[in-house]
């Protein structure tokens, strides 16, 4: 398949099951809601070393938030419910509770499973915390130095998908980056997904396993342009730079949509802007059960 001179490889991206939740952070103004959200989602690019993958889904208008203040919606994913609970709790405690004027709410209801949000943070109130049941949901009012920190007790957990991806193969680093930026701009408009890496783009895509026993992932040498003559390369001579966009989403369908608009944005730049191929992180079925076939997505 070729779109605007860009070859779409006959391959698929492999993704794996994760547990995810959506949180809503509000504050006195959009600036401080964003600051808190950025702190919460910091160092959350990959479960390999961060324990979770998190990102900002979008900014929320006051009419969309529970307390009628400006807010930010974030998604956070981990490999299991326990890991997710730990990450949510520590990040909420250190990045939201501490952030001036903030409040923290669940953005995802679940009948199946819930994890603590403010359930344990409440003890920071040292006995002065106050519980309120509003519309069947419990909230905690925790006295803090700037007033009260309001947080919902629990948030729902959703069976999610992590690690959807595609690779942009370009003639230069600058062209690969420009194409990825264009893709991210479009993908941000899709709900229920995040691109957890810096700016949504990862330049150090990995393969499963390593020659070093201590590592379970290592550089994806087949797509490293400097190794074309040293390894079993997947790159043609014109390709000088490869960048990857990784997508986590609440459902496979959400990732499908995000990949479609992202790949389309890259293809719109086309061969004339140095984009040669779109490929994907395919690990021969070793990584996960969710397969995103590029040509089917773009059909």
């Amino acid at each position: 398949m070729i779109i605007n001179g860009v070859t779409i490889d006959e391959t698929f991206a492999e993704a794996f099951p994760m547990k995810g939740t959506r949180l809503i952070i509000t504050a006195l103004n959009a600036k401080w809601a964003m600051i808190s959200a950025q702190a919460f989602t910091g160092f959350a690019t990959s479960v390999i070393a961060c324990g979770c993958e998190a990102g900002i889904e979008r900014e929320l208008d006051p009419s969309e938030t529970p307390d009628g203040r400006p807010g930010v919606s974030i998604l956070i994913f981990a490999m299991g419910g326990k890991g997710l609970a730990k990450q949510v709790e520590t990040r909420a405690g250190q990045c939201v509770l501490t952030s001036p004027t903030s409040a923290l709410f669940s953005g995802l209801d679940s009948d199946k499973k819930e994890i603590p949000l403010g359930q344990n943070l409440r003890y920071f109130g040292d006995g002065f915390q106050i519980s309120k049941m509003i519309d069947g949901k419990r909230y905690w009012r925790i006295p803090v130095m700037d007033g009260e920190f309001l947080t919902q007790e629990k948030t729902g957990v959703h069976d999610s998908v992590g690690g959807g991806n595609f690779l942009v193969l370009a003639e230069s680093q600058a062209q690969a980056l420009a194409a990825c930026e264009a893709a991210i701009e479009e993908m941000k408009k899709i709900p229920n997904v995040i691109m957890p890496f810096p700016g949504g783009v990862v330049r150090s895509g990995s393969k499963v396993g390593s020659k070093f026993k201590a590592l379970n992932a290592s550089t994806n040498d087949a797509f490293c342009p400097t190794l074309k003559g040293q390894t079993k390369s997947d790159l043609s001579p014109e390709v000088e730079s490869v960048m990857e966009i990784v997508i986590d989403g609440l459902t496979k369908e959400d990732i499908d949509k995000a990949m479609r608009v992202g790949i389309q944005a890259v293809c719109d730049l086309g061969a004339e802007n140095g984009i040669r191929r779109i490929s994907a992180g395919n690990y021969g079925g070793k990584l996960g059960p969710f397969h995103f076939h590029l040509q089917e997505i773009m059909a």
Binding site: R69, S131, K132, D135, Y139, E148
Partner: protein, 268 residues
Amino acid sequence: MSALTLTLKNAPAQRIDCSPLTPEALADKSVADIELVSGNSTVRVDELFDITGDDINNIVINNSNGKLDFIGKAMTQGSITVNGDAGAYLGQFMEAGDITVNGNSYIYTACEMKSGQIKINGNAGDFIGGARPGYKNGMTGGTVIIAGNSGDRTGDHMRRGYILIEGDAGDYCGARMVSGTIAVLGQVGAHLGYGMKRGTLLLQQAPTNGISANFNDCGSHTLAFLPLMLASFKKLDSKFAELETFSRVQRYAGDLGGIGMGEILVKL
């Protein structure tokens, strides 16, 4: 199916225990044959009421009288509409459903209620949402709306849920309250929050009797939970649904004669 309508023939001489007249208690029974306890004897439902309709999930009591006690006791579904007054212990132990009284209700309305909704379109008696004498936990959930005034000791030992009073509340409002929320649009009587442990008394206007010395002024504050809570009232058939949202209040903490974790919030 039309609502099961029970029209009281004559004002009873004795108090009547109406607890068998709930949707779940009437299932698979002949309504007319049910015997209700009255004083030290019993009386058949068809001797007391004219009976029409057959939808037991929608019960209407017409010509009701303040001697009809225990209406909606422990009900778990459906609705009961009382046209007239309701006696003592209306909605006691209620778990779900809704009760509307187009009249007044008497002592111990919503006593130890667990969930559901009760709306009194007239006035309500003492001990709304309270605990039975000797018991420590009053209502543990649900919403009670009083369109008129409430009697004394509203929310006595209340543990959870909402009591919303559109008119005035009597003396000892929120006394011995363990938790939950009582909101009053009108005035409150003496000894507000007496012995209150936790919970919130939300007042639309400052009490003319002042705040008890057992409550300390914590200053004026913007509390984020208030807009959230007020928004949850929007779905109610009540003046509380029309309240303009606010978050600015004067906060008083008490009763300091006890653990002092309760609060009186007065709208600023």
